[in-house]
Symmetry: C2
């Protein structure tokens, strides 16, 4: 294992120390429990948006803390859920009184720990709503998941909900918007290489010199199929068609019902894409993919969307939700409407996303 690290067990701590030194005008870092928060938090009257999850997916989530996006991010150890005390303390730090939205990727540990944190925060008088992201069409259940995994749509939900909170949407409305984004986003990824968790010291899985894992998870979880390498166009077509032709997806998730004061089961439905839809196209590098290859993917994706009657109205191309040094890419399509486009375009100023400020 060759990495730019000191002791493997210090990676997250030292990363956070570096972030605190690197972006003092944007964020601050709290240690023990670990979280990154907006330098100007709490922002009076504004709903606070918090996310988190295992480290190793940088810039998600810590790189998205700042004006117009997240108020705080809670990083676990690499590929390990953060603990409830992190989200609880983050919520106490950034809550202005307008309440807190937890954006939670659908992994069993994350879901459980964000639920516990929400209960603890409510016990301290903080309004909290949890919204799940479960947008990965690759597999129904997975290594760490009941139901679909949460992947690329998370980045888009954080941007859009962050903008909405900045605009003054109240907690219920930001949560409804987040659920709406999740229901309208679909993703799928492919890996050419594994990655190595520093404390493990060896790759999470192995792949032959001519093989790829289609439908890979962001922690290296198995996907749909291991197959021989194909061309960029063929790979893009496999991912894009899996997303575009994905059928109606129904699932039951737990959300906190504020009127009843308890967690309740909610049935959610993702409608398939249809000709005429406007979409945001997100081509994401999983970390080790050279930048020269991403426009080659986008080129084919653009052609496929046109052929399928989808109009790409916004794009995001780069490395935003990664798996350490994994060479791989994922595609996310998010059905857009005027409100989402407007919120997407709103100014954002974070370490990893910045425009309009």
């Amino acid at each position: 294992m060759k990495k730019f690290i000191n002791r493997p067990e210090d990676v997250v701590k030292e990363e956070l120390e570096g972030i605190a030194l690197a972006y003092p005008e944007l964020v601050k870092v709290n240690f023990n429990p670990n979280f990154i928060y907006r330098a100007d938090a709490p922002v009076a009257g504004k709903v606070a948006v918090i996310s988190g999850g295992g480290s190793g997916h940088e810039p998600m989530h810590g790189g998205f803390v700042g004006k117009g996006m997240l108020d705080a991010a809670c990083p676990g150890e690499v590929f390990t859920s953060p603990t409830p005390d992190q989200m609880l303390e983050a919520a106490k730090k950034v809550n202005s009184g307008a309440g807190v939205l937890f954006i939670v990727k659908n992994y069993t540990g994350d879901v459980m720990n964000f639920e516990i944190a929400a209960d603890l925060a409510r016990a301290e008088g903080i309004r909290v709503l949890n919204i799940l992201i479960d947008d990965d069409v690759a597999v129904k259940d997975s290594l760490y998941t009941a139901g679909r995994r949460g992947v690329g749509t998370t980045v888009l939900a954080e941007k859009i909900c962050g903008a909405a909170a900045e605009r003054g949407y109240d907690l219920k409305r930001v949560a409804d918007l987040c659920r709406h984004v999740n229901l309208n986003g679909r993703s799928m990824g492919v890996a050419l290489t594994p990655c190595t968790v520093p404390t493990a010291g060896k790759p999470t899985f192995t792949l032959g010199d001519d093989e790829m894992e289609v439908g890979i998870g962001i922690h290296g979880e198995p996907g749909r199929e291991r197959m021989k390498m194909k061309t960029a166009d063929e790979i893009t077509e496999m991912l894009a068609l899996s997303i575009i032709e994905d059928k109606e997806y129904r699932r039951t998730v737990r959300e906190f019902n504020e009127e009843k004061g308890e967690w309740t089961d909610v049935e959610l439905v993702s409608e398939p894409f249809r000709p005429g839809d406007k979409v945001l196209a997100f081509v994401n590098s999983m970390g080790g993919t050279p930048d020269i290859e991403l426009p080659i993917i986008y080129r084919k994706l653009h052609e496929i969307c046109e052929k399928k009657g989808l109009t790409i109205v916004r794009r995001l191309i780069g490395r935003y939700i990664t798996s350490l040094e994994m060479q791989g890419i994922s595609i996310t399509l998010l059905r857009m409407n005027d409100e989402l486009i407007d919120l997407w375009d709103a100014p954002v100023l974070t370490p990893a996303l910045r425009w309009g400020m």
Copy 2:
């Protein structure tokens, strides 16, 4: 070789097609000869800034085309200099009449081809000045270079000169500024892995499982020393001290003298860093390095700069001048003054760098 490409010989063409589709509001692409240019070029009255070089270093240079930075970028094939017709046609396309600055990394092929292009453009009545970037302290001469190689300072020079051109600096003043930036910037890199040029199909060099190449070039050129892996802190210290303790560097370069109407030798001197200097600290990923590791490098760099009496007044952390999927990092320090800080902060809107717009 596993890459997201179609035919290896189509990589650059298809990348450019993808860029044209992905960023239509920012850039346009000309094919045969290949160059990327600002969608709104030529900008009336503004000096045009053009750079270029082999592909494989994305986002440099094509990702830096847009408002506040480059007017055009000329990509060669991967790790191969662009040809003079590319720069000539780019100059004709973006010249507003205020003249063109060519920012040229010091590699023999690039230097020659940009000189030829400048002569051809002058023959067509376009004022052109060429300024070299030769900031890599690792080695005196190298595989493709007489003198030091041009690396990380190129990115900073493109941003700063682009801002100056936008502000209305005339050609002479933008060229003087570019030379000043080069003389005040120093860089050095290290690689943990090689990379594979698509048309070659195999790694540019080999490195043992416990080895790194210190002083690596951006095309995989040998550096100062191959050694056993060290910790992030030790590696950062090696690079930072090589930069900070680099002595006065004198060299003779060719620049075009407009008064004499001919290329003339100019002696240039880079002064060493001194306690009290303000610097921009640039921690660059060479492509495959996980984002989680960059703040760990910055953390140590910050400490070393403080210890050496250098004040970091601006920072750039991310992947900006890469070598395909190479896992490696480089550090650049640029001595800043009020003018440079002001130009650095000026708005920029390109695919890869955007703020303030």
